[in-house]
Symmetry: C2
């Protein structure tokens, strides 16, 4: 059966954040086009430096098997193993320079990360789950999609409805049901100096 996971938070957070996790098992159920467009629309409204909107998304759904296979082949093998279950695959792409002056955009990746977070938030709101992957073949993606100079593939995205961990290869099954973990808030939030505990946390 599909596994629900709730983040074991130190402080309360919105339920869409608490419910989100990155599964590898996806149900054999497609995502309807209107829903998928709402996810992309959510990404569109992320904030960005100079409102540059340096994110692009390449999208493949299982309804088009040839396109789907082309995108799957842009993932590293370890990710293909499980991502091939997901009804939708995407690649996020960063635009590396600013339109207004051609200078490098230090925040291009940062803003792509934000846009994909907005996409994920919308996904969670409609019962979908997203698993992003750093493990992609950047050069292969460039060749496959003719990604032009000045742009760069950033991450793979698998999304769909939650599936049964039992459908995963055995090596991945255990990870699927383990609780998500994070370092304590104290180690990522500082006050007046680096490493100094925030007064609010004392």
């Amino acid at each position: 059966m599909a596994v629900e996971k709730l983040a074991a938070t130190q402080y309360p957070v919105h339920e869409l954040i608490q419910r989100r996790w990155s599964p590898r098992a996806f149900a054999n159920r497609s995502v309807d086009p209107a829903t998928l467009l709402s996810l992309l629309e959510a990404a569109r409204w992320a904030p960005s430096c100079f409102n540059e909107q340096p994110w692009r998304y390449l999208v493949a759904t299982r309804e088009n098997p040839a396109e789907y296979e082309r995108m799957l082949a842009c993932l590293v093998e370890g990710n293909q193993l499980w991502a091939k279950q997901a009804p939708v695959l995407m690649l996020s792409v960063a635009k590396l320079a600013f339109a207004h002056n051609g200078q490098p955009n230090r925040h291009a990746y940062h803003d792509v990360g934000a846009a994909s977070a907005y996409l994920t938030f919308e996904a969670t709101a409609v019962g979908l789950y997203v698993h992003q992957m750093a493990g992609i073949l950047v050069d292969r993606a460039r060749e496959t999609y003719a990604i032009p100079e000045g742009f760069e593939a950033v991450a793979g995205i698998a999304l769909g409805y939650l599936g049964d961990p039992g459908t995963l290869p055995e090596t991945l099954r255990e990870r699927e049901i383990m609780p998500s973990t994070r370092q304590p808030l104290e180690s990522m939030v500082f006050g007046g100096h680096w490493g100094e505990k925030l007064a609010l946390l004392k």
Copy 2:
């Protein structure tokens, strides 16, 4: 009076995404500590490559004027002009290499962007507004907070309750009430090849 803005979406999105924008006018109202901790907790649960969690946050509130001024001085002057109204300032910081092998983390900025997006959702859910700033003094931040090698200040964050645009310098007042804009979805989402319209959008 404070201005509510709703994103003019092409496809429906969750109301927390539709309501979010980046104001410059903040009300003279502090953020209670429990609320602030929930925002940081939300950031903590963002996904990251290898679960590296490469985000750190330096936090200053107006309750500690000396700390607040030190952080304000890490913003470029154009941002200080309005950010000084916000009851809370933060700096996001990226950890540039992986803990497990010391290699550069290509997704460090990406994952900081995601974490700050999670922080922003939580803020919107509790009635707060967030304005991130690329315009920070990276070297000054490093000196002020003794940010160690291997980490880098990424963005400034001003947050608080929505304020009256009339309190802003005249040059910023007009921008504050203009609608937010984005390029059309068609220009950021592609199908089988770069620049090719996604079949779903046809």
